[in-house]
């Protein structure tokens, strides 16, 4: 697919769309606070970057996202392991976890900002809360989906439960865990931005919010552009790690890019059970 011809075609398509956008906005005299032309967005982007304003706020959002991602995935992984491996945890805790998941967690952001303040911690906590569930579910399903024959083989060699966990269940769960990390990364970014909307002193979300008050729509567009690039880069970073870790997984070779399903909180690898077995 990636030929010189295709690349130039896709660049051409982009340029034509931008020209069309610019032309329509000018021809119909659309007010700049409704839809700014690409040229104005480009100017805003340049000013924001040149003044160092965007970089400062980007750094804040990035730190919040990465910390939230790390904390949320670690917690999700550990809890997922506990639920998968211990039937008491499964029985007593899992129903509450599901209840918590059915709650749209961004709705908690105002409370979290009240509890943890306008600074870094409330953003990290919100990002972690949103990022945690995909890891929990995927880890759980991955650990439980270990092949029966492989378990029998290990048992026939007198393997302990601990050995079955480390040598079989855990590596077997990795494709699921990596798919969970993929989603958790994007979710963490969403969590951080939403918490910034609610109350923050810095960050790209806060910047969008304040631009909204001043009707600086070109500015907002330029920040959105930065956010989408950030999302893409984070996603690619996970993909790179995933390719390395899952070199043995045949589904990795066919998957060109992981699709992020926003409608579903989690995604299991192809052929794997989507939901926990009942």
């Amino acid at each position: 697919m990636t030929t010189t011809r295709n690349v130039s075609l896709s660049v051409l398509l982009l340029l034509v769309s931008l020209a069309l956008w610019e032309g329509i906005v000018r021809a119909f005299d659309v007010p700049v606070f409704i839809l700014p032309p690409p040229s104005k967005v480009a100017v805003a982007l340049y000013r924001g970057l040149a003044s160092g304003l965007y970089v400062t706020h980007l750094r804040v959002t990035l730190v919040e996202t990465l910390l939230g991602f790390a904390a949320g995935s670690a917690l999700g992984f550990l809890l997922g392991t506990a639920v998968a491996m211990n039937r008491y945890v499964d029985y007593f805790l899992y129903p509450y976890i599901v209840m918590f998941q059915s709650l749209p967690k961004v709705a908690l952001a105002p409370l979290i900002v009240i509890w943890f303040g306008l600074g870094l911690s409330s953003k990290v906590i919100n990002a972690a809360l949103v990022a945690f569930f995909p890891l929990l579910v995927n880890t759980m399903v991955g650990l439980r989906s270990a092949d029966e024959d492989r378990i029998s083989l290990m048992r026939s060699l007198a393997a302990s439960d601990r050995q079955i966990f480390w040598m079989l269940r855990l590596p077997n769960a990795l494709p699921f865990v990596m798919a969970g990390l993929d989603i958790a990364m994007i979710f963490a970014l969403i969590g951080a931005i939403v918490a910034e909307f609610v109350g923050a002193t810095s960050g790209l979300g806060m910047l969008i919010q304040s631009m909204n008050f001043t009707m600086d729509v070109s500015g907002q567009f330029s920040v959105l552009l930065i956010l989408s690039v950030v999302g893409l880069v984070l996603n690619r970073a996970i993909l790179l790690v995933r390719r390395r870790v899952l070199f043995w997984d045949p589904s990795e070779k066919s998957a060109e890019a992981p699709e992020v399903e926003m409608a579903q909180p989690h995604r299991a690898p192809a052929g794997a059970p989507k939901e926990r077995p009942t």
Partner: protein, 261 residues
């Protein structure tokens, strides 16, 4: 070889019942047999005759309902370290290389990789996989994967091999070839082998003895000693003696109502 003191496998009056919604199902009904040290015994029978149940009991993966099963004189109380099992599918771990797959028992039993890596390499050479040590399972054909499984079953030098239709998933040509290979390996290693199959020619070709089983409830119908000279070549299947054994066993099944496969 028959009278080397303690038998490798001795089964007496073994019964296994499963609970099911319709009541208890008898998978094995008071079966008794013995296998001498170093002997190759093939178990042949149709699906549902309890062959796999028998193997799982010997592997220590299933408990008996009544009767006794002993390996080298001691009752089976769970999985043991002195047996190697080969299942119908290779059951390899995709994240382990061929060599690492072969070393799985060594890792599990903490035997020390330094010493056993050489053993595994020699075994891989024996099964004809030299040069593939650092490949991964998905890079191998089905027959090659099953060779890795055989290597893995032998690496910790177990006293006996339990094989549950190990070549059942292979195509006919590969299967014949694997039968020859297995005979060659067995002649070199002289392990006690219990080989489960539903192919009569395979059983006669490989076994010193063939145990014929019937289904529902699983019983041992006959114990046929096969005295064809070794090493047996593939052409042996065309000899009158081979045909005689095969007919004798097949005749048993036609009385009982047929054999699939």
């Amino acid at each position: 070889m028959q009278d080397s003191g303690v038998e490798a496998i001795s089964i007496s009056n073994l019964t296994k019942q499963y609970a099911s919604r319709a009541g208890a199902v008898t998978a094995l009904d008071r079966i008794s047999f013995g296998v001498a040290e170093g002997e190759f015994v093939a178990v042949v029978g149709p699906s549902g005759c309890g062959k796999s149940t028998l193997l799982k009991i010997l592997a220590g993966l299933l408990a008996t309902t009544s009767g006794e099963a002993r390996l080298r004189g001691t009752p089976i109380a769970g999985p043991r370290r002195d047996i190697g099992v080969v299942f119908q599918s290779p059951v390899l771990f995709p994240w382990r290389s061929v060599l690492d797959n072969a070393l799985l028992p060594v890792d599990i039993q903490g035997l020390g990789r330094e010493r056993y890596e050489k053993v595994a390499m020699d075994l891989l050479a024996l099964v004809g996989l030299t040069g593939f040590e650092h490949r991964y399972p998905w890079e191998l054909s089905g027959g090659m994967q099953q060779r890795v499984a055989i290597t893995r079953a032998l690496v910790h030098d177990p006293a006996m091999l339990l094989m549950d239709e190990p070549f059942g998933a292979l195509d006919a040509m590969t299967r014949e070839h694997m039968n020859l290979e297995l005979q060659r390996i067995w002649l070199e290693k002289r392990k006690t082998v219990l080989f489960i199959t539903h192919s009569i020619p395979e059983a006669v070709f490989l076994g010193d003895r063939v145990l014929v089983m019937t289904p529902r409830p699983g019983r041992i119908l006959e114990d046929v000693a096969v005295s064809l000279p070794r090493p047996r070549r593939l052409e042996v299947v065309n000899t009158p003696e081979f045909g005689q054994y095969a007919r004798e066993i097949r005749g048993r099944f036609s009385v009982q109502g047929g054999l699939d496969g």
